[in-house]
Symmetry: D2
């Protein structure tokens, strides 16, 4: 017998749970794309997207996933043959670098492994060594969805400044925009890349590239081609230029609703705080389960953990068994150990990830923690007691 | 700051959580009501509705709520001025009796209070005393949604038989059909009343009256009027007679989907078992919270508790505060202390109810328990530890 | 090959086309039924329902179809054994009388056949002859959905007054509320019966009974039972009394949206006028098709035709063939010849009906007319030319 | 008063009317993107997408609009600095050339104006003159959404062959895939570009690039970058490579439903034939309206008109007024005179376009024609009679 005949809950680190309001907003006829309401709705997205990133700079919206946005960011700023520093703190940081290489860009990869954030000192050293100014940009994720580490965006900025280097500072916030606090202008980030299917609570299909004046300057002389050129998209003369052709009609309505919820109803500060509280609840539960030598969070330093996703290490093979159990019995789908070896490998099957981004509350959080707790008991996986109480305490104290 | 910016969960004892599949099935144009698919779909409901009640008898579907079904059952079987025994074990058992009185039926109320099930011995005595055979029927609920008691339907049947009395045996399963095991034919129930918005997982709007041959005989000479007459509805010559006029088009599609889920996918036995396990998890949590003299289940005898709903007593005023907190902070709506004094009264605000009927799984159960646990902590309401672990243990052992 | 691979259109005289906005409003979780938003939304329906009927009287909402509302109206006003006059101008007028008889009410049926409206003179004569005042009510439809005649509600009122008779005047507006102009108070109608699935654009499942003070007086001493008693429903002390138990949660949200559209966005006067124009367009088309001795409207007198539905007579068997063709090839479902003999009979298969109630515009009207025109051509059914142009002229001139 | 209080109909040439079934399929939670059902559903799209193009070649799916697919086709086959012939028969043919230039590709534009199809003879001449084989590809649209011309894809192929030229033959079917017959393999088309929001009846957001072995060879040595590289997308080792990252989760479900309708239920041949019949109905109506010197189809040669879209010329300013009238009064939105001068210019406001692609039937067709007819009458725009009858005749004869 399965106990999973109720509402399922997707708890992977993206795509996230789409609010019913967003789905309802997308359940509609195609609108006219040359006149009328859609034009107005599209324009209304821009200031709210800027608020979410805390910037007065520009934003270009792409019909694309995060990888498309990565490429867009690079096409507008870096020419083939030019050099960038890639900070790897998990699969996604590394992945952006791989994509750059595919585009013919030379990459210097600073790999900090799967368990810790980037060391600003190392970055500073590399930049100082670049006396000819060949490095055009520093690429990093804020949160890596694989390792669940959160890099210190401010510290890395300071490292660039300390080195007196002119490289563009490009940050990928795909995994955590709206979840982990981010201040693009205050933190002097030049380019920021995001996507809609995580903290922004909209079905996958839109990517965003934010850029400031310095990045806009870098665009000069580059040949991004048509589709990824951010110039017409960020300040379109004609409506169709917003999207380089046909607009993503339904996503526009969905994103409008999601931004209403985040920016106009909850408020961005409260939204960040909510994510922080919920992330801490998950961490407390993991700590309780892991008493002794058992389960533990992938990032030992609590201050470096993302508020959007948690990567957990278990005993050999336990994560995979547990994931299967909760999906079949509890209605919860957890994330795989992406980035830790090939699927099925020893390192892979002892990791799982929990996405806690976007549309999240106490009931959902306790539902996931409770489901994992049941699985541990049902599968006789060794674990400490009190995980649920620990999480409950954190949430109650909010 | 509120942590409730996620998916909300309705945990009142009806209406219950409507599965998304049911809502999607109802999101459609009105169909033709004289020809075509709707006719076929309607006919397909009947055998599945009978399976749900474990009967080969008849079933009439009414566009009405449970109160309408109550009245329908009585109009077909009892004439004004005739006498029935009403078993009251909470507001709903009592309510059926009140409605009978409104219809001009004489009622003998056996009131067993708000905290226990009916005593078959008392029923037997009353029936034995009715030497003239004036009592035409015995009315009882299986589960009372207010007190959350589950009466022993078999024992009450035996009491009627022991008294050698010919009264019809009429059972209200509105609160628990599909949740608590029920065998209409095996248990010799003559009339059973149900509705769609609880275990049957369909938006409120349909009532059901099941009846066997003995009840069909009782219909002779009665004047139920048109709308509640079960004769044409149970075996219609013309399609429109199914519903005494225009069909409840969208509900038909919704109910079809819900019955597919219950009967054809999960299976009725598994569905009952799932409800039992989940109900026990809630009970274990309440027990843990209530260590000492605190919170406790309204029905002391565990074997008498419904699998569909749990009524809980707290310290003075605590239930009301806690309900408010979980609704505002956790996204969970719990049921009020219906039937325990006037809204706002001392007895009322120290009760709450949890509906765990229909579309339920581990994640939802732990989400509700976890939300309550947070509230107890946040509001400094005295409670025992380990409620979550206790519930988790029950669910894990299923 | 079928050309029907596009959006289908239901053009039967009820249920009508449900606006997507109404379906979206109903695509939602069940709400709490004891507290919160639902209470407020329910209360907000009442003034708008009164506006739709142009009354300051009371309205009771029933979870029921139109037949349920018929019975509700009678249970509150007429006791079994009492006498009413039933005006039959089609199946539905006659049907209300049949239902009254089922309830034990004595009926005097004034049958005006299937092709004309009621003669007020006849009514006056019958009432004058009732010197003992035994007749308690006059029952009539405003529009009969079968014949598509529209009775002159004002003239019938005058007949009652001319006879100096005290009978209640009860009008069924199920088929045409919101389509044909209706002024309950100005026209001194005592009881009015309606339902939600036609002009009110909501999935079938709600019936309405409106009543004025005179009707409220008639309620005294009656025993309507519980479910149909209009007293608590029209002015409930407790919310649950609105619906005699569990509220029709999803219909409440659907009806709210529909009333917003009719009353607050379009405006009732404009809504009536729109229906009138569209009905005239259909009539013009039928007239053109029927040049000579062919197809014709069932009601010869144009001033007596409903604005909600049109019943059309064709040559032998043609209506049935044509209906089949448009459903299979054009995507349009037309109404059967209800009330003209048994299904399949000669008189039945030469009639069809077009519903043009509720959510209707030019595109939909021309789509239906165009589809019928195609069918006539495809099936070589004799017909006059210019039907489409004739309809277009009417619509263009609005 | 407006008569537009009914179901609206979008009749622009893309996005087209999305079937309710497709919207329902997209109204769902985000699925897991690493395991489970989504993987299987995605794989199932590929053979059906190939059927739609009548090819055994490869297809790559992009999260992008048609412009993105244009760029993808070029990035995989043409290097910057290389030369292509661009056939312009309307704004979209020309537009693909503009995009190529943005990518640094040299273009030879053969401009055939806005009113006729491409002359194969001209193409042959240009290719014959290219004795050094510098021309790498011939780019053309099958149907131009602006002019509504349909080029003769077979004749252009023959011209290339007659010239003995080795250029790739690249055809844009965005506007007409599934509407106008297309046989990629039989016609020896090397690359074909499409998108989902027109004949494929899915909300805008997916582009497709089909390619055969010859085109696959051309990929060698090109540097398409990551996002547009068709190699991993067409034959992915890992699921995420299908979409170069996060899958377009909801669009996958929507497209699945649309392909079921087209390929598995209606059948592609029937679908093409339906579009042809409906297009001819529109043409007949336009012809009737235009008797004498009035309104006329933009493409004089009937055999060159697309089955997906019709561009119509009216007297000065009439098109714009008429479009406004039908949108406000009839519920129909028609397409603007895209490509005929700047918005608002004389040539622009005397054109309108009708999209009749995808989800279309008789009722919808007659609804649009009827709405236009009403507008012409209401606005006193000179027009011939009998347009509706003419269209009806065509549809009836199917």
């Amino acid at each position: 017998m399965s106990l999973n005949h109720g509402r399922t809950q997707l708890a992977i680190p993206g795509p996230s749970v789409i609010p019913e309001r967003v789905l309802l907003a997308m359940h509609r006829p195609s609108p006219n794309i040359y006149e009328g309401e859609l034009i107005e709705v599209t324009h209304s997205l821009v200031p709210d997207l800027k608020t979410v990133a805390q910037t007065k700079g520009d934003v270009a919206i792409y019909i694309a996933n995060g990888h498309g946005a990565w490429e867009a960011a690079l096409r507008n700023t870096i020419a083939p043959g030019e050099k960038v520093v890639v900070i790897a703190t998990g699969r996604f940081g590394a992945g952006w670098g791989d994509l750059a290489k595919d585009m013919g860009i030379e990459t210097i990869v600073l790999d900090f492994g799967m368990h810790s954030d980037a060391d600003p000192q190392k970055l500073e050293e590399v930049l100082r060594a670049d006396t000819k100014g060949e490095i055009k940009a520093v690429l990093t994720v804020q949160t890596d969805t694989a390792s669940s580490v959160r890099n210190d965006v401010v510290a890395l900025r300071k490292a660039i400044d300390a080195a007196g280097h002119d490289a563009l500072y490009m940050v990928d916030c795909i995994a955590c925009l709206g979840c982990d606090a981010f201040h693009m202008d205050e933190w002097s980030v030049d380019v920021m890349v995001a996507a809609c299917q995580k903290g922004l609570m909209t079905p996958a299909g839109l990517g965003f590239v934010y850029f400031n004046d310095k990045a806009a300057q870098a665009r000069n002389g580059k040949q991004p081609g048509f589709y990824f050129d951010w110039v017409p998209r960020a300040d379109p003369e004609m409506y169709y230029q917003f999207f380089g052709g046909t607009a993503p009609t339904h996503h526009i309505y969905g994103l409008r609703e999601a931004l209403d919820m985040m920016v106009h109803e909850e408020g961005l500060e409260a939204c960040w705080k909510r994510h922080e509280t919920i992330a801490r609840a998950y961490c407390s539960a993991v700590e309780a389960w892991g008493e002794g030598d058992g389960m533990h969070h992938n990032i030992a330093d609590k201050t470096k953990r993302s508020n959007a996703v948690s990567t957990i290490t278990t005993g050999p093979g336990e994560a995979a068994k547990m994931r299967k159990w909760v999906e079949e019995n509890a209605g919860v789908t957890l994330g795989i150990g992406l980035g830790f070896g090939a699927p099925g490998s020893v390192e892979f099957v002892r990791r799982f990830r929990i996405g806690h981004m976007g549309h999240q509350n106490i009931a959902m959080t306790m539902g996931v923690i409770g489901s994992i707790d049941c699985a541990l008991k049902a599968l006789n996986i060794k674990h400490g007691d009190g995980a649920l109480d620990a999480a409950s305490k954190v949430l109650a104290a909010h």
